[in-house]
Symmetry: C2
DNA sequence: TTTTTTAGAGGTCGATCGCAATCTAATTTA
DNA sequence: TAAATTAGATTGCGATCGACCTCTAAAAAA
């Protein structure tokens, strides 16, 4: 089935979008190309006309997921001009976000996996980390840009760690307590 | 080749130990039973005499890894009675620990993976999280046990998140900055 | 107590059977 | 015609299991 040039380009984007979600849900090793393509409404044979390899797709999907994630941060902040940082904290450290395995933060969903990937995937994560830090920087009560950068790093680490931990425990109360404790510390740190 | 009862028990422990390391290095899905057993000096056929399934082994290996990890915290603290918390922070948020994929913290190495596992694996991680929190609790300048628990949770989240992030980026300077920023915030939080 | 049996635990090797990633030939239509 | 997609083939590894073997450990017999 031949498809128009623009349609083909759309298909490519669809595959990347689907992959960015399914990788988050099941891990890079947890989903095969067949299911991945099926999720995009295509068959596996079409894969290698669009991507060089599964790792190539992992790179594209990582970029897409990270961009989407930092975009959500910017959006949340923009929607609450009175307290942009508070808005980011509230949504990120929420029970809802804990449950959002598919669309949630890729640093949480794929952090351990990304640490085992090649430099190209890591480069995407590195860019994503920097983008998130930039968003935080903008809203932190910082004395100088250097002090602010350090605060942003600690805050990002706390947030990522809290959601990660909240997902590896069964007890919902413990999970919520972890999120709450992190939120409190992050608010303090940002204000200090 | 039949072996003695104690030898068999030893073999079982060896498999668990090897698995606790290889799972951390390559993820639950990243290593097969054949290589796992080879690492223990046995053949794959012996596996099902000792374990019901790969998931069964994942549970045992998770427990082993978490116990070892919280043990390291206790040991580090015990070795520095003057500043137990500082000792834990220094070793955990070090460049060395960042590079210790095999023996490092399982919450970092397997956090994303564990979130996708069944409740039995998560139960081991939950117990591990609680054990780590207990160690922190003991050394935090806390007003009451409740305030201290919250602090411990935020500190643990920050530490886990920082090492995770430090491993998903390529740039060693950024990685170190993340660890340093987390260490500073954690020290402040513990003293507050 | 000492010897002899014997059940079966713990092991090896190899088979199964499905799914993985990857590539090629054929099909379709812009 | 030629680009885009497909179905199907290939090749290899995944978890799991079964047949068989060896000897330990515990019971039975001396």
């Amino acid at each position: 089935m031949r498809v128009s040039r623009t349609q083909a380009a759309e298909n490519r984007q669809t595959v990347i979008n689907v992959a960015s979600r399914l990788f988050r849900e099941r891990g890079f090793d947890g989903i095969g190309l067949k299911d991945l393509m099926k999720g995009a409404g295509l068959t596996q044979g079409a894969f290698y006309k669009q991507f060089a390899s599964k790792e190539d797709l992992a790179v594209e999907a990582s970029r897409r997921a990270l961009e989407s994630a930092s975009g959500r941060w910017s959006d949340a902040a923009a929607a609450h001009p009175d307290d942009p940082l508070g808005a980011v904290i509230s949504f990120y450290l929420s029970g809802d976000h804990r449950g959002e395995k598919l669309d949630g933060c890729p640093m949480v969903a794929l952090g351990s996996d990304a640490a085992r990937q090649g430099p190209e995937v890591k480069a995407e994560f590195e860019a994503g980390v920097r983008a998130h830090l930039d968003v935080l920087d903008r809203f932190i009560a910082g004395t100088g840009q250097e002090a602010s950068r350090g605060k942003a790093m600690a805050i990002l680490a706390t947030m990522v760690g809290a959601v990660t931990l909240s997902r590896v425990v069964n007890d919902p109360d413990l999970a919520q307590a972890l999120l709450d404790a992190a939120a409190e510390q992050v608010r303090d740190a940002a204000a200090a």
